[in-house]
Amino acid sequence: MSSHSILSVKNLTVEFQTSEGLLRAVNNVSFDIPQGKTIGIVGESGSGKSVTSLAVMGLLQKPAARIPNGEIYFNGQDLLKFDEQQMRSLRGNDISMIFQEPMTSLNPVFKVGEQISEALRVHKNLSKKEAWDKAVYLMNQVGIPKPELSAHKYPHEMSGGQKQRVMIAMAISCEPKLLIADEPTTALDVTIQKQVLELLQKLQAEYKMSMMFITHDLGVIGDIADDVVVMYRSNVVEKNHAETIFQSAQHPYTKGLLACRPKLGANPKRLLTVSDFMTDSGEEKIVPVERVQVFDKEIELKESSPVLLEIDQLVTQFPIKGGLFGRTVDHFKAVDGVSFKLKKGQTLGLVGESGCGKTTLGRSILRLVEPSSGKIIYDGKDITHVHHEELRQLRKKMQIIFQDPYSSLNPRMTIADILMEPLNIHKVGANKNERFDMARELIEKVGLKSNHMGRYPHEFSGGQRQRICIARALMLKPEFVICDESVSALDVSIQAQVLNLLLDLQQEFGLTYIFISHDLGVVNFIADEVGVMYAGKIIEMDKASRIYKNAKQDYTRSLLSAIPKGITKNSMAPLI
């Protein structure tokens, strides 16, 4: 162990006892975190990065998890030899942690001020008043407006970004020597992600903390990490200084991770994915030349194709209730006078932060939410007020793919049942066998195997589930599909695969998409035209290839600058 390492993990192995036998989640992992430095641990879901951090915190669920070998030195002491009492005095005090989901990581029934003061009272023996004052001070430090008032708020009264700031205030409250951040920005919009990353960097310098930053997205840690450890299937496959990793990655998996994030400026036909660099067994592959071809989408635009969807001055408002009998006292305009035209076979990208009305707009177009005024003209027909049978027929042609592949599939239905359900409802296909064949054909189209048909959703990974959702949306052979943040919950490496799939399917079936996302980088890659939404209005609309060069609105420029550039903090060398 080097003398100036705050944390030194040596040959750590973690195993879980599962119903299918022993599962090795972390295999002989070693790395050091030098005093005052940040180390990024990168890998996809299930690569063992979170388990490693939980092992450091002593928070693995025993007895299911066990550590057959390895050492974890913190400040020269082996944490694996500590008892629960000793670990407890360390946790939240010398080592603290921020988690991925700020929505669920705070206790919903306590004021945030109380939650921040809790660790101070346990570890620093502060009185209730002293701890509360310190909590208010910390909330100011992490940039929460009006900290005296905000300390009295409950978590549900704050935005996602603010909740994550509260988590950070909680984590730094006892001035820890090591801060573990486990995907702290994954659940946040890109703009908020940028703010949180900047805050973490500022606090690290101020408190002279060392930091372990866990993420699935290499682009994110470029700005923040000194060293990078890349994990793949429970093993460390590469570790080096951040600049070296970004400039000359050695392992094919790292190369794949670097290449799969959509980049502004370059408009490749398809995104590169990890599987372009590496075979399933982990051997390096030569990247096929046609996969790196860059093309200009503008040439391909079929200017002559007919308009499929026209939206004219669409307004969707929700009533605000008040008074003794819950009368409507006012309205909130989620969508406020939006107009655009979308041509057949094209993709319109809608981009904006949470709460800008992009999801409501999508749902209004499908008439899942009733618009208050304006017109929706689909294929030359005004569908703003159609009902019953007419609307049902329309639903066949218009489909939606949701954000969360975990909660949008019924856990008690097999994949075959899930895919055949829309066919049954709309009485497509002569009999069950015919429907089954149609489902099987599509499941292969989205890259799954036909023997998956009898399985249940929980047997699939997040990326596979999103493929199932896509297949379900395509079962009725729709013309028009709305993808509502359909790749936001996925790892970047999986995101690239799903984006490629959506493009392939668009070409094969001639689909028209509306693609909704908070990430302008993703929208820019997949869309022909991009609309930037803010407070219910489309404030800017342009060709995808132009908007990143000559954005007119400040807001658009701030969205653009929030996209992780994959530039390391020391070298400023661009990614690839």
């Binding site: 928070l59 007895p63 946790r91 939240g92 990581s105 919903p108 306590f110 809790e118 008040g322 819950g326």
Partner: protein, 311 residues
């Protein structure tokens, strides 16, 4: 808050009107013309007509329904057919023995079950957890009658600790009468209560915010009592508060076996003697009880969980 309660109290009016209507129709269908039953075979037509007049059966259906509605608000239920007493007085008399048994039994069993389930949650997956779970299932599997017979024979007859049956209102003599049925009540409710509370608490224990609390370095007991219990309160409040109206109505089986002159026994007697006014009174009383305690549990939610707003 006050606005919300006023609104909810106003909502009670249509609910009570609906409930009274259902009760009115059901009793009208079942009871038919009660005069023959009441006066026996040898009654004259004059007697029957007089009685109809007296019972208000000559009024229009609409006015008869209005009487039912009125009784839901005034608690004036008229007279019992079998005892000829004023029903509201009978209820008042029966309420005291019923509450003597049900309140202590309910409070003790709820608190005890909650404590046991906290211990079980703390030692989840370990031997003591398994033992208590098996014990709960076993306790639930035995019939209430078996407990009653065995406890009466063993504790009252063999050991002579308690009275076998009967009731005395005076304190402290009341204890020796209600102790045995109360113990049986507790034994009967601990099984389902512990199983429910344990599930609710364990649901919370695997939440992300509990992991955050552990990452702060809080001791496990603090986490359980402060963070977990507070979040588990919502389903627990529902489960506990909705049982309260049934406490007033008394325990049919226990009161009967231990000869306690409570409302449970009164209801059974009314059933046996086709005493419709008493049955109707109890039905209305229980509806009112459920409506009021439903409101109470809604108000308690908002105190337990800041996310729930009064709108």
């Amino acid at each position: 808050m006050t606005k919300y309660i006023i609104r909810r109290l106003l909502y009670m009016i249509p609910v009570l009107l609906g409930v009274s209507l259902i009760i009115f129709i059901l009793f009208k269908l079942v009871s038919g013309d009660p005069t023959a039953v009441l006066l026996g075979k040898n009654a004259t037509a004059k007697q029957m007509a007089d009685l109809r007049e007296q019972l208000g059966l000559n009024k229009s259906l609409w006015l008869q329904y209005l009487d039912v509605v009125k009784s839901a608000f005034t608690f004036d239920f008229g007279y019992s057919w079998s005892t000829k007493q004023e029903i509201s007085k009978m209820i008042l008399q029966g309420a005291y023995p019923s509450l003597c048994l049900s309140v202590p039994a309910f409070v003790i069993s709820t608190v005890l079950s909650l404590l046991i389930s906290l211990v079980v949650a703390y030692y989840r997956g370990k031997g003591i957890d398994l033992f208590i779970r098996v014990f709960c299932i076993a306790g639930m599997s035995i019939s209430a009658l078996a407990y009653i017979l065995f406890f009466q024979w063993f504790f009252a007859f063999k050991l002579g600790w308690f009275e076998i049956s009967g009731f005395e209102a005076e304190f402290p003599f009341v204890i020796s009468y209600i102790a045995l049925p109360a113990i049986i009540w507790i034994v009967l409710s601990i099984g389902p209560d512990v199983r429910f509370f344990r599930t609710v608490i364990l649901d919370e224990i695997y939440q992300d915010y509990v992991r955050t609390a552990r990452a702060k370095g809080l001791p496990e007991v603090t986490i359980l009592l402060r963070h977990v219990l507070r979040n588990a309160l919502i389903p627990i409040i529902t489960y506990v508060v909705i049982q309260i109206p049934s406490l007033i109505l008394g325990a049919l089986l226990l009161e009967n076996f231990f000869s306690i002159p409570g409302l449970g026994g009164m209801t059974l007697n009314a059933l046996n003697s086709s005493d419709f006014p008493v049955m109707k009174a109890m039905a209305i009383l229980s509806s009112v009880g459920y409506i009021i305690f439903g409101l109470l549990s809604d108000i308690l939610y908002t105190l337990a969980d800041p996310r729930i707003k009064f709108n």
